[in-house]
């Protein structure tokens, strides 16, 4: 174990970790938006909208995230979408995790007892009011933990953008493995930083979950 080397490259890894955090935050935020839209479509009463939602989830979950990223980044210019690698990473990863979040959110909404909607409707609330004021607040509680699992996966998923040369943690580790021939040290260093990020996010999720728990 070459500790000298680890100390020497540490600052570069720290910079890269900041990029990984930025990617995680932006792509998760974008993913939540995609997930909310996807859920809206999948639960919609319009057949066409529902079909669009189903297709989105099925296609995105049925193909590798890496290929989706490549289509966007390398194929995008052919259809007039010009993005730099970081932007493509945020949008590509966001659209990808959004499909998984769609299933999480939809699952939570469906898990709320049907009687709640029926009771709300009986009391004279409209369909959208019943959803907004009765079902969603309850579903939100059920969503937090599984969404935390999605976010955890997303943080590790940001490593994919190394393949389109975004200088984040995995790309940095790969570059230093190439130049130092110390794969184990570089793996531990990058791995430790990923673990710290995931740990902190995990604490945040647990805190949020505790905040909204029923007392």
């Amino acid at each position: 174990m070459d500790f000298d080397l680890i100390l020497r490259v540490f600052p570069y890894f720290l910079q890269a970790a900041v990029v990984t955090i930025e990617l995680s935050v932006y792509s998760t935020a974008f993913g939540l938006i995609c997930g909310a839209l996807g859920t809206y479509a999948r639960l919609s009463r319009h057949k066409l909208l529902r079909a669009v939602g189903t297709a989105y989830v099925s296609v995105i979950r049925g193909t590798p995230a890496l290929i989706q990223l490549f289509i966007l980044y390398f194929g995008g210019p052919q259809i007039g979408i010009q993005l730099d690698a970081f932007e493509a990473g945020v949008i590509g990863l966001g659209v990808n995790i959004g499909a998984y979040m769609t299933e999480t959110m939809r699952g939570a909404i469906v898990a709320v007892d049907k009687g709640q909607t029926e009771a709300a409707r009986t009391l004279g609330l409209s369909r959208s009011q019943a959803m907004r004021k009765v079902v969603l607040p309850q579903a939100a509680r059920l969503m937090i933990r599984p969404l935390g699992v999605n976010i955890n996966a997303q943080i590790k998923g940001t490593a994919l953008v190394a393949a389109i040369s975004v200088v984040e943690l995995t790309y940095t580790a790969q570059r230093y493995i190439g130049s130092t021939y110390k794969p184990f040290e570089m793996f531990l260093l990058a791995g430790a930083l990923y673990m710290v990020i995931i740990y902190v996010v995990g604490l945040g999720i647990t805190f949020l979950d505790g905040k909204v728990a029923l007392r």
Binding site: T63, P64, I67, Q78, I79, A162, Q174
Partner: protein, 218 residues
Amino acid sequence: MGLDFAVVPEYLDRLLLGSAWTIGITLAAAALSFFGGILFAVIALYAPAVIRWPFKTFAWLFMGTPLLLQLFLIYFGLIQIGIDLPAVVAGIIGLGLHFAVYNSDIIQAGIRAVDKGQYEAGRTLGLSQAQTIRKIIVPQAVRAVVPPIGNNMIALLKDSALVSVIGVTELTLSSQLAISKTFRPFEFYLAAAACYYVINLALEAGLHRIERRIQVAR
């Protein structure tokens, strides 16, 4: 530059060959991750502390880091310690180990859910501890956790695209090679996505059949 899908058929044989590699790698890694998962689960639950704790640390490290990083570690790490494996073998080992750790987590839960009386009955009938675990506990535990393990296999198929990064000529890298000749990334990545989607549907159907058969057997 507009789109022109007419260039795709010319490279269809390569995409199909790449698909065959993707399927082969997925199946090999799935088998490794399944049996590795069982082994890891048994270690985590039954092995003495000297073996259990290093293993648990390894599992914790593998669950908290990206697969791509692990592939780099395995591919370049093995070379560093003098084992020069072909990239495809390193890829299968990397994918297999990564998902073995995830499967192990699921199988552990399955083992814990097997009634304690089963273990006691096995021992009472004169089976050794190892025999009881192998012949009585594990078969019951694994049957119960087939659906979540199946989900991991589907995730494995999609993550097999990552081994293209260490130079394995499967579906993703095959399409990249076609792109380097034709400069048509959109068409070929879309074609690759279609291939993945079809393989994914086939895999889902296969897993569904296995699930049904096990449900009948129970």
